[in-house]
C-alpha cells in the first residue's frame, strides 16, 4: 500500500476530484496548506510597507491506495491538476505498511477502499 501526498492549486481541487472519481479513487483527505515552491510569490503592501508573500495557498491531498491503484491515482491527479504552468504542484509517494478501518477493525488492503 502507498500513501500519496499531493500539493495542488486550490482551484484545481474540483477537477482533480473528478479525474480521481473517474479512476475509481473515491477516498481521500484534504487539507489547506501554504506552499513555497518554484512559483514566484507576490507583493502585498499594508499601510505603506511592502512585503513579499512567498507562502502561497495550496491544497494538500492525502490518498491511501493499494499498489495496483497507484499509477491510476497518480495519472488522475496529474490529469486534473496540470496546466503546464509553474505552481501546478507536486506528488510525494510514501510506503504505507498498515491501514486500519476504525469501524470494523479491518486491516490492510481491504481497509483502504
Amino acid at each position: 500500500m502507498k500513501l500519496v501526498i499531493a500539493y495542488i492549486q486550490p482551484h484545481k481541487l474540483k477537477d482533480v476530484k473528478q479525474t480521481l472519481y473517474k479512476a475509481e479513487v473515491h477516498k481521500m483527505s484534504v487539507t489547506n496548506a501554504l506552499g513555497c515552491g518554484e512559483q514566484a510569490g507576490y507583493e502585498e503592501s499594508y499601510r505603506g510597507i511592502k512585503f513579499e508573500v512567498n507562502l502561497l495557498k495550496k491544497v494538500r491531498l492525502e490518498i491511501a491506495v493499494n499498489d495496483n491503484f497507484l499509477d491510476g491515482t497518480i495519472e488522475a491527479i496529474i490529469e486534473g491538476a496540470k496546466t503546464g504552468n509553474i505552481g501546478d504542484g507536486k506528488i510525494f509517494i510514501l510506503d504505507l505498511p498498515e491501514c486500519i478501518r476504525i469501524r470494523t477493525g479491518e486491516k490492510g488492503s481491504k481497509a483502504i477502499g
Binding site: 486550490p10 482551484h11 481541487l13 474540483k14 489547506n32 507576490y42 507583493e43 502585498e44 503592501s45 499594508y46 511592502k50 508573500v53 495557498k57 491544497v59
Partner: protein, 453 residues
C-alpha cells in the same frame, strides 16, 4: 433660566406690542408667527438630517451584505468599491449632480446650482439646501453602490471608480430630475415617493447591464450551462448588513416626507408600511425558497426583506398597511423567482442586486398604480379602487423610460470603460482573488481559508 437671544428679541417685541395694544386696541396676534415658523423649520431640518444620517448608514449595510455574500478572497475589493463609491458620489453630487437634479432647468435636467452655488438658502420644502443636499447625496450613493454587488468578484477597481463618478454626476441625477426635480415624469403625475424607480431601478438595471457585459465569474456556470453554487463566506456579516439596511430604510422612506407636516401622520404611515413590507418580504421569500428547494435559506430570506423594502419605497406614502403587506409578500416571491431566472439566463449576479433592486423596484413602481390612493396624494386612485388603469399606465411609462435610459447610458459607460482601460481583471487575478491582485492585501490576515471555489 438663561434666555436665548431670539427669545429676548421676542420679549422686546412683546413689550412694545403690549404698549401698542394699550393705545390702539389692535391685537396683532401674529407677533409670534416667525418663531413658530422657524421652530417648524428647525424640526423639519432635524428630521431630514437624521433621516439622511440613516440613509448614509445604509452604505455600511450595502458593504456588509455584498462582502458577506461573496468569497473571502474578494472582500477587500468590494469593500473598497463600496467605500469609495460613496466618497466619489459625495464629490460628484456636490459638484455636478445636485445641479442636474434639483437646479432650475428644463424637463430633462437642471442647469444651475453647480457646486451648490447661486441657490437660494432654502429648498421648496422649506429646509436648508445644505441639509437637503446631504439627504439627496446619501440617496445618490445608494444608487451607485448597488452596482458593486452585481458586478462583484471580477470587475476592475479603476473602472469602478470611473463608473461611480459618472453615475453620481450624470445618470442618477438626470433620472432624479425627471421624477423629483420637476422634470417631465413628475409633470405626468408619476409617483415614486422615495425612489423605487429613481434609486433602485436605476441601480438594479445598471447592475444588470454591467454584469451582462462583464460575463459570469470563472466557474459559475458549467460548460453545459448548469449553475454552480458559490457560497457566501460570511453570513453573519450579511445578516448584520440586512439589519442595517432595514434600519437605514427608516430614514430612506419616512425621511422622504422632507418635513414633519400634519402632526407626523404621514411619517407614521410611511414607517409602518415600510416595516410591514420588509417583514412580509422576508417571510414569503423564505416560504418560497423552502417550498422550491427544501430548506429555509437565510440568504434568500434576507434578500426577500430587502425586496419588500425596495418594493414599498415608491408606494409607501400612498397605500394602506394591508396593501404594504401584499406588496411586500409579492416582492418576496419575485426575488426568489428572479434569482432563479437570472441563473437560467446565465447572468451572474453574486448578491442578487438585479432581482432585489431592479425587479422589485419595477414591481413597487407599478404597485403604486394598483394599490395607491388619491386621498393620500396620488394623481389617480389605484386600479383596485374603482378599476381605473390610468395610474398604472403612468407608472409603467416612468419605469420603462428609466430602464431604457439606464440601459443605454450605462451600457455606453461600461463599454467605453471596457474598451479603454478594461472592465474585467485577468483570469489569474480572479482565481487568486481581487484582494491580492487589486489591493495587495488580504481581508482576513492569518485565517486559514479554503480558496478552492
Amino acid at each position: 433660566m438663561v434666555l436665548r437671544k431670539n427669545n429676548k428679541t421676542w420679549l422686546k417685541f412683546v413689550l412694545v406690542f403690549t404698549a401698542l395694544m394699550l393705545c390702539s386696541n389692535i391685537a396683532f396676534a401674529a407677533s409670534e408667527s416667525i418663531d413658530i415658523e422657524t421652530l417648524k423649520q428647525g424640526l423639519d431640518t432635524v428630521w431630514v438630517l437624521i433621516a439622511a444620517f440613516l440613509v448614509f448608514f445604509m452604505q455600511a449595510g450595502f458593504g456588509m451584505v455584498e462582502a458577506g455574500f461573496i468569497r473571502a478572497k474578494n472582500t477587500c475589493n468590494i469593500l473598497t468599491k463600496n467605500f469609495l463609491d460613496f466618497c466619489m458620489a459625495s464629490l460628484a453630487f456636490f459638484l455636478v449632480g445636485y445641479a442636474l437634479m434639483f437646479g432650475d432647468g428644463n424637463a430633462f435636467c437642471g442647469t444651475s446650482g453647480w457646486a451648490l452655488a447661486g441657490l437660494s438658502d432654502k429648498t421648496i420644502s422649506g429646509i436648508p439646501v445644505f441639509a437637503f443636499w446631504l439627504f439627496q447625496a446619501a440617496f445618490c450613493g445608494a444608487a451607485a453602490t448597488i452596482v458593486a454587488g452585481g458586478m462583484a468578484e471580477r470587475m476592475k477597481f479603476v473602472g469602478y471608480l470611473i463608473y461611480s463618478f459618472l453615475i453620481s454626476a450624470l445618470i442618477y441625477p438626470i433620472i432624479g430630475h425627471w421624477i423629483w426635480g420637476g422634470g417631465w415624469l413628475s409633470d405626468m403625475g408619476f409617483f415614486d415617493f422615495a425612489g423605487s424607480t429613481v434609486v433602485h431601478t436605476t441601480g438594479g438595471i445598471a447592475a444588470l447591464i454591467g454584469t451582462i457585459i462583464l460575463r459570469p465569474r470563472e466557474g459559475k456556470y458549467a460548460p453545459d450551462g448548469k449553475p454552480n453554487a458559490i457560497p457566501a463566506h460570511n453570513i453573519p456579516l450579511a445578516s448584520l448588513g440586512v439589519f442595517i439596511l432595514w434600519f437605514g430604510w427608516f430614514g430612506f422612506n419616512p425621511g422622504s416626507t422632507l418635513g414633519v407636516n400634519n402632526g407626523g401622520f404621514d411619517i407614521g404611515r410611511v414607517a409602518i408600511n415600510t416595516n410591514l413590507a420588509a417583514a412580509l418580504g422576508g417571510i414569503f421569500a423564505m416560504l418560497t425558497v423552502w417550498k422550491k428547494y427544501g430548506k429555509p435559506d437565510l440568504s434568500m430570506a434576507m434578500n426577500g426583506a430587502l425586496a419588500g423594502l425596495v418594493a414599498i419605497t415608491a408606494p409607501c406614502a400612498a397605500v394602506e398597511p394591508w396593501a404594504a403587506i401584499v406588496i411586500g409578500a409579492i416582492a418576496g416571491i419575485v426575488v426568489v423567482l428572479g434569482v432563479e431566472f437570472l441563473d437560467k439566463m446565465q447572468i451572474d449576479d453574486p448578491v442578487g442586486a438585479v432581482p432585489v433592486h431592479g425587479m422589485c423596484g419595477i414591481w413597487g413602481t407599478i404597485a403604486v398604480g394598483i394599490f395607491g390612493k388619491k386621498a393620500l396624494g396620488l394623481a389617480n386612485d389605484g386600479f383596485i379602487y374603482g378599476g381605473n388603469p390610468m395610474q398604472i399606465g403612468i407608472q409603467i411609462v416612468g419605469s420603462v423610460a428609466t430602464i431604457a435610459f439606464v440601459l443605454v447610458s450605462m451600457g455606453i459607460v461600461f463599454k467605453l470603460i471596457d474598451i479603454t482601460i478594461g472592465l474585467r481583471v485577468s483570469r489569474d487575478e480572479e482565481l487568486r482573488g481581487l484582494d491580492i491582485g487589486e489591493h495587495g492585501m488580504e481581508a482576513y490576515g492569518g485565517f486559514q481559508i479554503f480558496s478552492t471555489s
